[in-house]
Amino acid sequence: MAQLAASTALAPALRAPADPERRAMLVFIVPAVIYLLLLSVFPFIYSVYLSLHDAKLTQMARKKFVGFENYVDLLTDPLFLKSIQNTAVLTVGSIALEVILAFFCAKVFLSLKENRTGQVMRSMAILPMMITPICVGLIFGYILNPTLGIANYLLSGVGIDGPSWFGDPAWALPTVIAINVWQWTPFMMLLMLAGLVSIPSSLYEAAELEGAKWHHVARWIELPAIRDVILIGIILRVIDNLKLFDIVYVTTRGGRSDATELVTFFTYRQQFQFFKVGYGSAAAVIILLISILVTTIAVKYLRRMQK
C-alpha cells in the first residue's frame, strides 16, 4: 500500500531525532503526515475490515464475519453495476462536452483578451465553478421543475413540451451531466486560455500567410499548445466525477433508484439509508481502489507538469 510505503520513507527521520537537521524535519513534516495517515490509512483499513462483515450501523454489536460475501454480492448486484455504468457515462460524457465547449469559449475570449468588455464578461462567465455544488443543484432543480420551472415555460412558448428533467429515467442522467458541464466548462476554458495565450502571435500570422484553414490552425498550432493542460484538466475532472454527490443529493433527492445512481450515491444509500455498513464498505473499498488507480496516473502527470 502506498500509505505504508510513506511511513517507511519517514522511518530514518524518526530514528535519529538527535541530529538537529532531522529534528527539524520531524517537527515540520511529521505532524501533517500523521494527520493524513489518520485520515486516509485508518479509514481504509477500517473499511476493509467492515467490508468483510455483515454489519448494520444501528446494531454494530451484532456484526458477523462473512468473508468476501459482500464483494460477491456487490459484483452481482444489478444496481451497483448500473451505478458504475452511470458513473462512467457521467464522467466520459461530462468531460467530452466540457472540453469541446470550453475550446470554443476559450477561442472567443482569447480573441477579446485586449477588449475591456470581453474581460469583464470573462470574469462573469467563470462564476459557476466555485459556487457551492448543492446550490448549483437547487438552482437547476428550480429552473427545470416540471410545473413551476422557467425552462419548460420558455420551451412551451416555442411549442415544445419540456420533459420531466430529473424524474424521467431517460432524461435524468443527461440532465445531471448538463449541470455538471455548466459548472465545469468555465474551469476547462480557463485552463485552455492559460495554454492558448502562450502561443506567439507570429505563429498565427505565419499560418494565415500560408492560407491555413481554421481547423489546420486548431490541429497544428493550438492543440499542441494546450495538450498538457487539457490532460491535467481531464485527470482532475475524472477524480471530481468519481466523488460527485451533492448535485444528485438535492436534485433527485436520493430516491430515484437507478437512473442517476452513481457509485458515491449507491454507497451513501447503503450506509446511511439502509445502514448496511458492511455492504456499503465493500462498495467504498471498490471506489477507493478505482480512485487509487486513477490517482496514480494523475499524480505522475501533475508532478511532471509542476517541474
Binding site: L57, T58, T147, R253, F272
Partner: protein, 446 residues
C-alpha cells in the same frame, strides 16, 4: 372504539372531550411539572404542519417555563439523523416525530422509550386514548406495545376539481373504472389541452413503491400473505405477493393512467403532483390530507375554493381502503429530560390542545377533532376524511427494519413497468424476487 363510528356518538364523544378539557383548562399548571430554565427539543419532519406546531409551543412554555424548540428536517435526512443519533445514544432531542412505518426499525434499535406505562399511569381523561382514530392509532404500536402517541395522522383523499366536474356533469369517481373515465374525459375530451386527468406517484424509487402500497388493497390485492385489512397478525406470513394477478393488474392500471396525466407524469412524486394540482393543470390527484390545507391556500394555490375531496376509489368488486400514514410522537430513549418530554406530549396530544393544533393547520388524528363543529366549518374536507379514516388499514405498508429497502426495490420495478421498460408481469416478477431476497437476508422470511 369502532362503535363510535356514527355521527351521533362522535358528537357525544366531542361533547365529553370538550367538557373534560374545559374542566381542566385551569389545571395545566398543576398537571405539568415546573421546568423553568430548561429547553425541550422537538425533532420533526418539515411538513406543512410544522408552522402550526411551532405556533403552539409558547403556550407550553407559559405553563411550565420550559423553552421548546422545533426543528424540521426533510424526509430522508430525518430518518438518517434519527437513526444515527440513536446509534450514538444522542440526547439532543427529547421528543421525536417518527413516521409510523419506521417504528419497527426504531424499536428494534432501541431508539424509543415506550409510552405505554406513562399512558397507563396518567389521567385517562387527559390522555383520551379511545378518542384516537384507530386506523392511525395502530401505527403507534409495535410488538403489541404502545410506543408513541399517534398525533399527526394522514389519510389519502381523492382531490378533484369540483368546478370542472360540475361543468361537465360528472360525479366524483368511486371506482377505478369511473376514475379512468373521468381522467380520460379531462385529458382528451374537455377541449382544454392544458388540463390533464389524473396524476399518481409514478416516480422511480420510493414514490412508485409507496404508490403501490397505497392502491393495492383498494385494488383487491394484498402485498404479502397475511397482510390484509383486519388481519390479526399481519407479519405472521410475509411471503410476498407482488406478482399476484391483482398486483400485476394494478400496475397495468397505473400504466393505463399515464396518457391521462400531465406531461412527465411518469416521474412525478408528491411535490410535483401537488404543484400540478395547485397550478390547475390536473383535474384529480390522490394526496395525503396534510397537503389539503395547502391546496386551499390562495397564497400558493390557484385552485383554492375550486376543489372538493372524495373517498379513495376502489376496483370493481373490492372496497375502498384509503391509505393511512403520518407521524407518531415519541420520547427519545436517550433523552435526559424524559419527564418534561412526556409532559409536553401529554399536553400537546390532549384533545383540547389538539383542536387548537388542527385549527392552526395541523392534521386531525382524534375523533373529537374530526367531528368538531369549528373544525368541520373551517376545513370542509374533514367529514370525508373521517369517513376515509374509518375504512383505512393501519398496517398498509411494512413497518419493520427492511421497509426502506423493500419500498425502494418495489418502486424501481413498478416504474419500469409504467414507463414501458418491462411488461407489468415481468417487472413484478423481478420485484417479487428482489423483495424475497431482501426479506430473507433480513430474517423476516425463512
Amino acid at each position: 372504539m369502532n362503535r363510535l363510528s356514527n355521527t351521533l356518538k362522535g358528537a357525544t364523544a366531542l361533547a365529553l372531550a370538550l367538557s373534560a378539557t374545559q374542566a381542566m383548562a385551569q389545571d395545566w399548571n398543576a398537571e405539568l411539572g415546573d421546568y423553568a430554565g430548561t429547553t425541550l427539543r422537538v425533532q420533526t419532519i418539515q411538513d406543512p404542519f410544522i408552522d402550526a406546531l411551532k405556533g403552539m409551543t409558547p403556550t407550553f412554555t407559559g405553563f411550565t417555563g420550559a423553552e421548546v424548540t422545533v426543528e424540521g428536517f426533510g424526509y430522508d435526512p430525518l430518518h438518517e439523523k434519527q437513526i444515527l443519533s440513536c446509534s450514538q445514544k444522542d440526547n439532543q432531542y427529547d421528543v421525536l416525530f417518527v413516521d409510523g412505518i419506521w417504528l419497527g426499525e426504531f424499536v428494534d434499535a432501541g431508539c424509543i422509550e415506550p409510552v405505554a406505562d406513562r399512558v397507563a399511569a396518567a389521567d385517562p381523561a387527559i390522555m383520551a386514548m379511545d378518542d384516537y382514530v384507530p386506523s392511525f392509532a395502530g401505527q403507534a404500536s409495535w410488538n403489541g406495545t404502545l410506543q408513541c402517541l399517534p398525533i399527526a395522522g394522514y389519510w389519502h383523499l381523492m382531490h378533484y376539481r369540483k368546478d370542472l366536474f360540475d361543468a361537465a356533469g360528472l360525479k366524483a369517481p368511486t371506482t377505478f373504472a369511473e376514475l379512468a373515465a373521468a381522467a380520460k374525459y379531462f385529458a382528451e375530451e374537455d377541449g382544454d389541452p392544458e388540463m390533464a386527468g389524473v396524476a399518481m406517484n409514478f416516480q422511480r424509487g420510493s414514490a412508485a413503491g409507496q404508490n403501490f402500497f397505497e392502491w393495492i388493497y383498494s385494488g383487491g390485492g394484498k402485498p404479502w400473505e397475511s397482510n390484509f385489512p383486519g388481519s390479526a397478525e399481519p407479519y405472521a406470513d410475509q411471503t410476498p405477493l407482488f406478482n399476484s394477478p391483482e398486483s400485476v393488474a394494478l400496475v397495468q392500471f397505473f400504466k393505463d393512467m399515464v396518457p391521462f396525466g400531465p406531461p412527465g407524469v411518469e416521474s412525478f412524486a408528491w411535490d410535483e403532483r401537488a404543484n400540478a394540482f395547485m397550478q390547475g393543470k390536473v383535474a384529480m390527484i390522490n394526496a395525503w390530507s396534510v397537503q389539503t390545507p395547502m391546496f386551499n391556500d390562495p397564497a400558493t394555490s390557484k385552485v383554492a375554493g375550486k376543489f372538493d375531496v372524495a373517498m379513495f376509489p376502489h376496483a370493481e368488486g373490492a372496497t375502498s381502503v384509503p391509505p393511512v400514514g403520518g407521524w407518531v410522537m415519541c420520547i427519545n430513549a436517550h433523552s435526559e429530560q424524559k419527564d418534561a418530554a412526556w409532559d409536553f406530549m401529554k399536553w400537546f396530544a390532549n384533545p383540547a390542545t389538539h383542536k387548537d393544533f388542527v385549527l392552526a393547520g395541523g392534521p386531525p388524528s382524534r375523533v373529537s377533532a374530526m367531528t368538531d363543529a369549528d373544525i368541520t366549518a373551517a376545513q370542509f374536507w374533514v367529514p370525508t376524511l373521517y369517513e376515509s379514516a374509518k375504512l383505512a388499514w393501519s398496517e398498509l405498508r411494512p413497518r419493520h427494519a427492511a421497509t426502506f429497502e423493500m419500498i425502494d426495490a418495489l418502486g424501481l420495478q413498478v416504474n419500469r413497468a409504467i414507463v414501458g421498460e418491462a411488461a407489468p408481469q415481468e417487472a413484478m416478477d423481478e420485484a417479487n424476487a428482489a423483495i424475497t431476497e431482501i426479506l430473507t437476508d433480513a430474517g423476516y422470511l425463512k
